[in-house]
Symmetry: C2
Subunit: 397 residues, 2 copies
């Protein structure tokens, strides 16, 4: 069989995730990886997960091992509803859909909204997993730069103005406004207010991807854009992957009822429903109010790592680079003043025994070639210091 | 926001699963449901599942609660490889992909192969979940009737001949050849040989959906079509949903390496990977050789129910209907001789306190209006008898 003749247009233009491929190559013993995007297994609440599993299995095995509604576990939906309301998000049961990770949330948003060639605005830089999904729906991606305060509102409005003239607006703006992956930047409150006004003015949707929201190590809490939503302009996604564990694949979407209904129809064809067992475990965990104390533990765990990374960067890169100071999440974004190319230097880093993700991997226009994403989440304190030092030896050559 | 202006073409033409909607309406206390497609919770190996969970959590929690490779758990892939080879399927590790239920297998097959308007051949009747997925990729569906020996090979070849003249062949033939959902029919060995020859002759793919394969209650075992595959014409899908439990959402695909690679790329955008935890539980269950004895138990469990249903139908419908005699799976397909319309009579059945799924729900051309799918899997022996009797009271009016 000649499969090349059979493949769909969408799959022909897709490549494997560059980061996933890069990580496969770079896994050699003893290497210090500042490249991962994973949460630390040290933060997984193993004992509590076990207890919750045993409890739900005992009391409810007939239901939680069976097929279940596409919308999600009703207890978990109620928990998400309450949690969302506490975040200032106005929502009912019908606004919520449980998904198999936020990756699926993104997939269903695209399934429901995108025709091939539709334009979507993404941040420069942005999360490659979502870019991959957008490309799989043959979206035309337009990047808008992020600075220390988040996406550049002026450039964004210029684009919207321009598109309004042509009569064809982008289908949505995809944002990770809080502790952004990869930049670590948080969109300011002022800009959140501006962007929701833009969305209303131009009648455009915002897809707010917010997996790191609960991982704030310092600074004032800022409400999600969704909490400012008055006219159903915002689709909000978040996840238990970073606060509980990724292996259960449980996440959620809060959006306009009509759109959620369409996403349910899309999900019926995609995987019928998210694992009933895993949803029940997560619901039991939340119901027993275990999340609050757990979050305290993991916040102090990650805060220490972030501090060590920022101190190490300060020590080694003071006069040769600029970098972000994230108040939460997993990532620091560092840009080299002399414009060294981080793609080209990657193999040198591997030789030295340290890896990062080159900045261009996150940019739909291939920009930010002098930048890199550095994650502190899964690295020992000692190795964060050592890794940053090794990096400095490469880039000050 | 006016969402109607924003929705994609694919979602605009999709309706919610008719069966899922029908079952929502029809759930009232005391009703006997012969409509479900679920396995019986009585067959779920709860204790063993618990033991496997505890074991894998203890020895491997750092890995099984973390993100994991898109391809699937390597142990589970090896188990599937061995199992497939025992079925006569020639395969390597790279031929296998673990999916979040076979529904996702179907979704990824479509993602990789279908452009809007591409033709796919399906059985009349066929599984609505897959039809839903096919429609979500805007496939043009052509139905080929199933008789007591499976899909009609002559009609199928006529269609292929015709399409060959136009130069545009269907992208694939979607088949559930063993204990078909909904008809219960099994494609004979002779026809399996014919169909693989057709696939080779016309250079066309077959998607073999085989979730009920292990649930044979009597008769001789027949090899999957995939075991006859010489030229990479067959993509095989099966699942742990019916033999273990559906709540874990673990299934698999065996296909040509190049195509599996493309499906992996598609899955990266869809849900990153199937729950690492659930894959580990299933792998542990299989590794401990628990499946073999478990299957013996559930086969005798379901066989009794099938026998009771066939006896009851024989008693009540002898001279007014024809029906299939499935050697495995969950379903009997019954067609009323006087061509009563099972859609129209559905509300009467609900009144009587019994439900089925009308035949037209399974047919892309709306045919088989005088047929219905009857499932014995989740119904008590007493209620199978009572349900069939109640049905006979409606249809002999």
């Amino acid at each position: 069989m000649n499969f090349e003749l059979l493949y769909s247009d969408r799959i022909k233009q897709l490549s494997p995730s560059p980061i996933r491929e890069l990580l496969k190559i770079a896994v050699k013993p003893g290497i210090i990886s500042l490249a991962g995007g994973n949460p630390s297994p040290d933060t997984f609440p193993v004992k509590e997960l076990k207890d919750c599993f045993l409890k739900v299995l005992e009391k409810d095995w007939k239901r939680i091992l069976q097929y279940s509604p596409t919308e999600g576990n009703t207890d978990l939906i109620e928990i998400i509803k309450q949690y969302s309301r506490n975040q200032g998000i106005n929502c009912e049961t019908e606004n919520i859909l449980i998904t198999s990770g936020s990756q699926q949330g993104m997939d269903l948003v695209c399934k429901v909204l995108l025709n091939p060639g539709d334009e979507v605005i993404v941040e420069l830089p942005s999360y490659p997993g979502s870019i991959h999904t957008l490309k799989s729906y043959q979206a035309k991606l337009t990047g808008v730069p992020v600075d220390q305060e988040g996406i550049d509102i002026d450039i964004l409005e210029d684009i919207l103005k321009d598109r309004q003239k042509t009569g064809i607006l982008p289908k949505f703006i995809y944002l990770i406004p809080t502790f952004q992956n990869p930049s670590g930047v948080t969109l300011t409150e002022t800009r959140r207010n501006s962007i929701i006004k833009l969305a209303e003015k131009y009648g455009i949707l915002i897809v707010e991807d917010d997996p790191y929201n609960a991982l704030r190590y310092d600074g004032e809490n800022i409400k999600p854009i969704k909490a400012l939503d008055r006219n159903e302009n915002v689709i909000y996604m978040s996840s238990f992957s970073k606060t509980f564990c990724p292996g259960v694949r449980v996440a959620w979407v809060v959006g306009p009822k009509d759109l959620i209904r369409k996403m349910v129809i899309g999900k019926q064809g995609a995987d019928l429903h998210t694992s009933s067992l895993n949803q029940a475990i997560v619901a039991e965990y939340c119901r027993n109010n275990l999340m609050e104390n757990h979050l305290k533990d993991i916040l102090s765990y990650y805060k220490e790592k972030r501090d060590i990374m920022l101190e190490s960067i300060e020590r080694h890169f003071k006069n040769v680079a600029t970098w972000t100071k994230p108040q939460g999440g997993f990532f620091v974004w560092m840009s080299l003043d002399k414009k060294e190319n981080t793609d080209e230097l990657f193999s040198k880093a591997v030789e030295k025994g340290v890896i990062y993700v080159p900045g261009s991997s996150f940019c739909v226009d291939g920009s930010n070639k002098n930048s890199m994403r550095l994650s502190f989440a899964t690295v020992s304190n000692e190795n964060i210091k050592k890794g940053i030092q090794l990096l400095s030896e490469i880039f000050s050559l």
